[in-house]
Amino acid sequence: MNIRIAAASLALIAGGLLGVPQAALAKDDLVIGVAQFPPSLNPNIDPTVIKSYTLDFAIRPMTAFDKDWKLTCLLCTTLPTIENGGAKFEDLPDGKKGIAVTFTLRPDLKWNDGTPVTTKDLVFTWKLGADPKSGFSNNNPWDRAKKIDVVDDHTATLHLDHVDVAYNQWDQLLPAHIEAKAAEGAAAGDYLKATVYNRAPTTPGLYNGPFMVTGYESGSRVVLEQNPYWAGPKPGFKRIIIKTIENTAALSANLLSGDIDMAPGDAPALTIDQVIALRSQQPDKFAYLFKPSLTYEHIDLKIENPILSDVRVRRALIAAIDRETLVKRLFEGMQPVAATWVNPLNAFYAPDVTVAKFDPAHAKALLAEVGWKPGSDGICRNGAGEKLSLEFATTAGNKLRELQEQVLQSQWKTACIETVIKNEPARTLFGETTKKRTYTGLVMYAWSSAVTESPRKTLHSTQIPNAANNYGGANYIGLADPQMDAWIATAESELDPAKARVIWADMQKSYADQARVIPLFFRAEPYVLPKWLKGLTPTGHGDYSPLWAENWRSE
């Protein structure tokens, strides 16, 4: 009898644990699998992609670029521009020109505790953001505004003390009625520790988007549910679950098992090669999207290296590689080859600056002009018998980069250029090698920029990392070109699109001519989506698809 009871109990336990399939989540829920967990949920701290992606469901910036890369209002009624009179030039006491931008907040906007979003929040966010002790590191700094004139609860004018092309681009507001207390600390760093977004991220009142954070398990998942005070179109999902599975092989298996519904391309999830492989194995199970983005994969050349100081050698390096074939073979042509850092989708893209053609004969001719002739081992040598050999570094352990590196190495070898691979872990490469410019030849990596961002951080002479600027710049190629500096300064303040296009074209032409960088391609964001998911439109830039998540629905 006892044995029977024990056996029955065991069967029940086993049935409970194993026999019942996981309850299929209704289409009211959308489970998104990502490979990282947001380090913070404060919109203005720690500008990581995964944090922005998560928050874009719940808290809206003032303005954002849409899928067509056009700037739009999210919290305001009309986008203020010089043309519509929402922004006006003003003369400053020092004789310079400033700009006054007037925003009118949407009157139906509410935080998710029912408190209206008002200019009080705008002033609070501006004051906090302008205080260096707050630790803000958002993309559109609040300290650009030197003064705010409040007209009423919904209208205010921000005064900038210089003319800035990004005058009407502003980030998320913070709820003054909740965050003011956290911001009271006087010491540097206190706000980072006290912000309610980090201490209690499910607190009502922190979010003004269509969803609000209702569940937060550090390192595991963020649960978002419909914001009852959202006045916009009713979202198609009751709940969005962002689940962190850091191992991408496991993430892929979770997609197949149905534990997650989708892997986004605009947040860290599956890599492009994994999505291509999944598509070939499961062509009908999911919908696959590849959206070229602003992430620019390239190779920096060390100009101080005597071999690379001659522009003809640099051009030969470019002519010797077949980037079209590389992209076709490794990424099925999904990642467009780059001519410069400016994406063809950018309004300032110069179509006449084209991708340099693959021409190994031309590469050899250029090298011969400089005195590099193929030796008996197939590697070029100069008159002094020195080999044309360059160190080639990238992030160790990044499978795709290492693959690209091998392809390029083999192509260069054909053109009698030897490259010696010297890869380093990401933190060494970016923490020492690029930061202190200790690489000796070539270094391959990627960076992203905003839609209308000037190349100041990567090409302006003041941004060459050095002890004086605490190794803070990202001009790792060490470009110190007064003409480029002047173009950048003009581009940042030129509000006439036609004139700005001319300056941007000059910058791109100079960049291509000088060949200080070998452009490779713009990375494509790979999406794996359930076929029933409709309304998700990738943007390809830093204003991610969840900013329009109220349009997502299952059909």
């Binding site: 380090p39 569940g215 390192g219 933190r427």
Partner: protein, 316 residues
């Protein structure tokens, strides 16, 4: 006994102090700081913003100063603030510890229990069929990579059979005991399988050696049943070396389940320590590693006490 425990406690405190300094210094020797990768991938971070953040996070201070600051605060119970989680270290540590405790204790119990049974069974007739099968199983457990085993488990039980969830701690909206248990099955089995092999080999070797001893022959000659001979006279003596190995493994369990935790998306101590070291989150890395050290020291202390219980001739 009291004097022994007090003496070991002092030793442990000294070890912890030295360990904290060594760990802090070693992490500090790693190239770059947490903001470097952010700058490289996001040129939007201006030198001014970076300098401001470095000052706020204290990264502009010499490492000895930072260590002394941390130590003083830690002695007052404040383990600091985790930069990568934007929360106090304890707030991050406690859920990770809870996840690890569930995972580790369950897999530890399963692996020790099974390895005892298999090791003893194999030792009863060395070279026999059972010994061969158990050895094969043990070597398979030792040699199969945990990563591969975890992935195969997911593919079989989650993708093909749809019996178990592939990852996570629970389903949203279904935080019942049964749901938590279902989410633990695969990680626990994976971890247990990866350690059963080693434990089984130790138990088998120790039992074979013990069963050849004179007192076992005497016990048999006195007419004791074989079960009593093996389990009472043999196992107790065979356990002394096994306890040492198990105690050492227990400590490492709290910092060593990185792969399993990553594969099954269980945010535990192993992953937390690994991520915090990679991202230079000094406070969190240090606290996590020191906790693992405390568990190791404590489990060794328990092992020492167990020796006295297993063999009263051993004086502590």
């Amino acid at each position: 006994m009291t004097a022994f425990i007090l003496s070991r406690t002092w030793q442990a405190a000294l070890v912890l102090l030295v360990m904290s300094f060594v760990i802090y210094s070693l992490i500090g020797l790693m190239p770059g700081d947490p903001l470097d990768i952010m700058i490289a991938s996001n040129p939007g971070a201006t030198p001014e913003v970076v300098a401001r953040l470095r000052a706020i996070y204290g990264l502009d201070q010499p490492i000895l100063y930072r260590y002394a600051h941390w130590l003083l605060a830690a002695m007052q119970g404040d383990l600091g603030f985790s930069r990568t989680h934007s929360q106090p270290v304890l707030v991050v540590l406690i859920p990770a510890l809870w996840t690890t405790c569930k995972l580790m204790l369950l897999s530890f119990v399963v692996s020790v229990a099974l390895s005892m049974v298999l090791g003893i069974w194999a030792a009863l007739k060395p070279g026999g069929v059972v010994d061969g099968v158990v050895s094969l199983f043990a070597f398979a457990g030792i040699s199969v990579p945990v990563f591969w085993l975890a992935l195969m488990m997911i593919l079989l039980f989650a993708v093909k059979l749809h019996l178990l969830p592939a990852s996570g701690l629970s389903d949203v909206g279904n935080e019942s005991f049964g749901d938590y248990a279902r989410h633990l099955v695969m990680p626990v089995v994976t971890l247990a399988l990866s350690s059963i092999g080693g434990f089984t080999r130790f138990v088998r070797a120790s039992m074979i050696e013990t069963l050849r001893m004179d007192h076992i022959r005497t016990a048999r000659a006195k007419g004791n049943a074989e079960g009593r001979v093996v389990l009472i006279h043999g196992l107790r003596n065979a356990m002394i070396p096994v306890v040492t190995v198990i105690a050492l493994s227990f400590g490492s369990l709290f910092s060593g389940a990185l792969v399993t935790e990553t594969m099954f998306a269980q945010p535990g101590m192993g992953k937390m320590i690994f991520d915090s070291i990679l991202s230079n989150d000094f406070n969190l890395a240090l606290s996590g590693l020191l906790f693992a050290t405390i568990v190791t020291l404590f489990s060794n202390l328990l092992a020492d006490l167990a020796y006295g219980w297993l063999d009263p001739r051993i004086k502590l």
